[in-house]
Point group: C3
Chain length 344, copies 3
C-alpha cells in the first residue's frame, strides 16, 4: 500500500463497484463481491490488491503477478496468471486512474488560514480556503472558494484565482488570472516580465511588458515551470492543458485546449499553439510560429517553421517524423558503408 | 489598455512629445498636438492609442489596424491605412519601448520595510528600500538605496547589492556581489555551490567552491535561472547582459558585456564568453571554451570548441551556420533521392 | 584568498601536513615545514599559497604561476617554474579537494532554531539542527541530528531526513525519505506529483501518484532541480549520486549508486539507470528504458532505446559515440565535396 505517512487510504470496495468506477467489465469467473483493499504496482501487488497492465513492456510482470485483480485490455486476458480476477477495459490506464482516485481521494480543504500567512487587508478569500504559513497574498488579490495556497507562495497584487485551485509551495504568481480546478506545482513562476528589449548601442532598452497570463480551467503546471506575461497581448494557456516540470513559456504564447507539454520544452514568444498539440520533452519552438491543432512534436525537436494541423514532426530542424527517421537510417548506412575511411 | 488591476497608466501625451521620447519623426499630416492616451497591440489598438510595427509578419495587421498612431519604419509608411498617424523610426521597437516606458513608468520604491521580513541586525539597508514579507536578509548583507527585495527572497550572509536593484519573489542569493540597476526575476538562484567534485573509488570528493558571483550593472536575469559561484575564480556576468528564464550558468563562467542568453540554454564551467555574444534558446556550451566577441550561437546548438569572434554557428556539434544549413538541405535531398529504399 | 565576507579560512598548514591530507608526495627540494596559508587559482596564487594543475589547457598558466606550491601530476613536474614547491599526485584535483576542505572546513551546525520558523508541534528535530527563518516543517516530519533547513524551505507532512543533511533556501520537499549527508541546493523540488494522466475525450484523467522519492546517502542535488515522486513504485536516487542544476527526474525513475547527472538533462518516467552512469548536460532519456551500469551518455544526447552497460553514446537519436563522430565527419565531408551545388 501507499506509505501511510503520506497517503490516506479509502475503501475497501467490491470488485463490481470498482468496475463501475473505472468503466470496466468483470471477466470470466471474477467474483463481483470480492473486496479489494488497495491498488499496487504490478510487481508488488498481492492478495486484496488491484493493479493494471498498460504498457506491453510489462507483460512478463503481468504473467507472474500475485495481484488479486488486474485491469487489462481484453486482448491480454488469456495471459493472466491463474486465480487473478480481471477487469477488462479498452484503456486500462484510465480505468486505473479513476479507481485509484477512489482509493486515494483528494482531501477537501479545511478552511484553515495560517496566522503565519501575510494577507493584505484588501485581498479577498472565498470560503473554505487553506492558506499555509509564509504565504503572501497581495493587494486586491481575489481568491475563490476551496483554494489551497501553499507555504511560502506569493500571490501578487490583483491576481485572481478561481475555485478549487491549488497552488503548491514556493510559487510566485503576478499579473495573472487563473481558472478553476487548476493545479500549480511547487516553484512555478507565472506572470513575470517576458524577455523583451530593444537593441541599442548604449545598452538594451527594456520594453514594458503590459499583458497578463490567462490560465483557463483544469490546467496542471509542473514544478519550476516559468510562464512569462504578455508584452501587450496576453500569454494564454487553454483549458485542460498539462504542462510538465521546467517548461518555459514566453510572452504572448497561446496554447489551445488540451495541449500536453513535456518537461524542459520551451515555446518562444508569440507562438500560437492549437488545440490538443503534444510537445515532447526538451523540444524547442521558435517565436511567432503557428502550430496547427493536433500536431505532435517529438522530444528534442527544434521547430523553426509553422506546423500544419495533425502533422507529426521531429529532428533539428523539424521535419516530418518519417523523413527524420529515414535520415537517421540513411546516415547510419552511409557510415557503415564507408567504413573506417571516414574516420581519419 | 493594460489591465488596471496590474498596471498604472500615465499620460496622456501629445504625439510630438511621444516622437521626442521615442526618437521618432512625425510623418505627413500627423498632427503634433493630437493626444495619445495609451499604447496597445497592433490588432487591438484603436482611437487614442499608439501601436508599432516591427516584425514584417504583422504587415497584414498593420494594413487594417484601427490604431490612431503607429511607429513604423519609413519603408512601410505607404502601407498604412488611411487616417493613421505615423511616427517614423529606424528601429520602431526601440521607439515603442521608450514610449511605453513613459506611459507605464516603473513606480519608485516606497521605503516600506515589512515587519514580517527577517533582517539580521548586522545587515545594512540604504534609504528608500522596499522589503517584502518573508524576505530574509542575512548577517552583514549590504543593500544600497532604492532596492526592492521581493517576498520570501533570501539574501545570504555578506551579500552586497547595488542601487536601484530589484530582486523578485522567492529568490536566493549567496556569495555574490550584485551591481546597480540589476533586475532579478522570481526563483533565481545565485551563488550556490558549483558542480565540483573529484572522482574517487570510495565516492566523489567535494571540491570547496571558494569563489563568488559578480553581477555587473544593468543586468536582467530571468525566472528560475541558476548561476553557481566560482570554484576559486569568480563567476562573472558583464554589464548589460540579458539572461532569460531557466538558464544554467556554471562555476567560473564569465560573460562579457551585453550578452544575450535565451531561455534554457546552459554554459558549462570555466567557459569565457566575450562581449555582445548572442546565445539562442536551449543551446549548450561545453566547459573551458572561449567564445569570441559578437559570436552568434543558434538555438539548440551544441558548442564543443572555441568560437571565433563574430562567428555564426549552429548545429550539434556546432559548425558555421552556413555549413549546418547546407547539411540540412543535403540530408533532405539524399533521403528524397533514395526514396523508399532507405525505409526498410 | 577567498572573500572573507563569505568564507572562513582555517590553517595555516605545513607542506608535509598538506601532502598527507591530500595523499600527495613532496617533490625534489620542497621543504616539508614550509607553511602554506591558503589555496588559490593557478593564475592568482602567490607566496604562501597552494594551487593545482588538473586540466592540461592550463599548462601555460602553470609554467608562469607565482604560487609557492602546486599539486601536479608527476609527468608535468619538470614544467614547473623555478622555486615552486610541488606536491605530486596521480589525481591532483582530488588532492586539491581534500586540502581545500582542510583550509575551508564546513562549519558545524549551531543548533539554532529560528523563532521565525514554522514547525508543526508533531514534527521532531534531532539534536543540533539549524532551522532558518521562514522554514516550514509539517506534521510528523522527522529530521535527524545536525541538519540544516534553509530559509523559506518547506518540509512537508511525514517527510524524513537523515543526519548531517543540508537543505538550501527556498526548497520544497514532500512525500520523500532523505538519507544522511545529503546536500540539497536552493529551489529544489522533491516529491510533487509526477506527470501522470490518462487520455480521455472529456479531458485528461489524473492518475494519483502514490509513490515516494527515496534519496540515499551522500547525494548532492543542484539548484532548481525537480524530482517527482513515484506513481506507485518509488522514485529512487542511489547513494553518492551527483545531480546538477535544473535537472528533471520523472516519476519511478531509479538511479543507481554514484551516477553523475549534468545540468538541464532529463530522465523520463520509469527509466532505470544503473550504477555509475554519467549523463551529460541537456541529455534526454525517454521513458521505460534500462541504462546499463557505467554507461556514458554525451551532452545533448537523445536516448530512445536501452543502453548496454559501459556503452558510450551520443547524438540524437543516440548511437555509439564513435558512429556519431563518424556521421559528423561524413556530413561535413559530403557538404564540402558537393560544394555550392547544395546551396540552391
Amino acid at each position: 500500500m501507499a506509505d501511510p505517512r503520506f497517503f490516506s487510504l479509502g475503501g475497501p470496495f467490491a470488485l463490481n463497484v470498482l468496475a463501475d468506477i473505472g468503466g470496466a467489465k468483470l471477466h470470466g469467473d471474477a467474483h463481483p463481491d470480492a473486496m479489494i483493499e488497495d491498488v499496487a504496482p504490478i510487481d508488488r501487488a498481492g492478495p486484496g490488491q488491484l493493479t493494471f497492465l498498460d504498457n506491453t513492456k510489462y507483460l512478463p510482470e503481468f504473467e507472474k503477478s500475485a495481484a488479486q485483480a488486474c485491469i487489462v485490455n481484453p486482448r491480454f486476458a488469456d495471459r493472466a496468471p491463474a486465480g487473478m480476477s480481471l477487469l477488462l477495459a479498452d484503456d486500462p490506464y484510465k480505468a486505473y486512474a479513476l479507481i485509484a482516485q477512489a482509493f486515494y481521494p483528494v482531501l477537501p480543504t479545511t478552511g484553515q488560514i495560517s496566522p503565519a500567512a501575510h494577507i493584505d487587508e484588501t485581498a479577498t478569500l472565498g470560503l473554505q480556503c487553506d492558506v499555509s504559513p509564509g504565504a503572501v497574498i497581495g493587494e486586491n488579490a481575489r481568491i475563490a472558494e476551496n483554494c489551497r495556497i501553499g507555504p511560502n507562495s506569493v500571490i501578487g497584487l490583483g491576481v485572481q484565482i478561481g475555485e478549487d485551485t491549488s497552488i503548491g509551495a514556493g510559487c510566485s504568481l503576478s499579473h495573472c488570472i487563473i481558472g478553476n480546478r487548476v493545479t500549480i506545482h511547487p516553484g512555478v513562476r507565472i506572470g513575470q516580465d517576458g524577455f523583451g528589449f530593444a537593441i541599442d548601442p548604449q545598452g538594451y532598452v527594456k520594453v514594458p511588458q503590459l499583458g497578463r497570463v490567462i490560465i483557463h480551467d483544469d490546467v496542471e503546471i509542473g514544478a519550476n515551470t516559468t510562464i512569462d506575461r504578455g508584452s501587450g497581448p496576453d500569454t494564454v494557456i487553454g483549458a485542460g492543458c498539462w504542462i510538465d516540470n521546467l517548461v518555459q513559456i514566453a510572452h504572448n504564447v497561446t496554447l489551445g485546449d488540451g495541449c500536453v507539454v513535456v518537461a524542459q520544452s520551451g515555446i518562444s514568444g508569440s507562438t500560437k499553439v492549437g488545440n490538443h498539440v503534444m510537445i515532447g520533452g526538451q523540444a524547442g519552438l521558435a517565436g511567432h510560429l503557428t502550430i496547427g491543432a493536433g500536431a505532435q512534436i517529438a522530444g528534442k525537436c527544434g521547430v523553426m517553421r509553422d506546423v500544419p494541423a495533425g502533422a507529426k514532426i521531429g529532428g533539428i530542424p523539424a521535419q516530418p517524423l518519417r523523413d527524420w527517421h529515414r535520415q537517421t537510417v540513411l546516415l547510419s548506412r552511409l557510415v557503415r558503408d564507408k567504413g573506417t575511411s571516414t574516420d581519419d
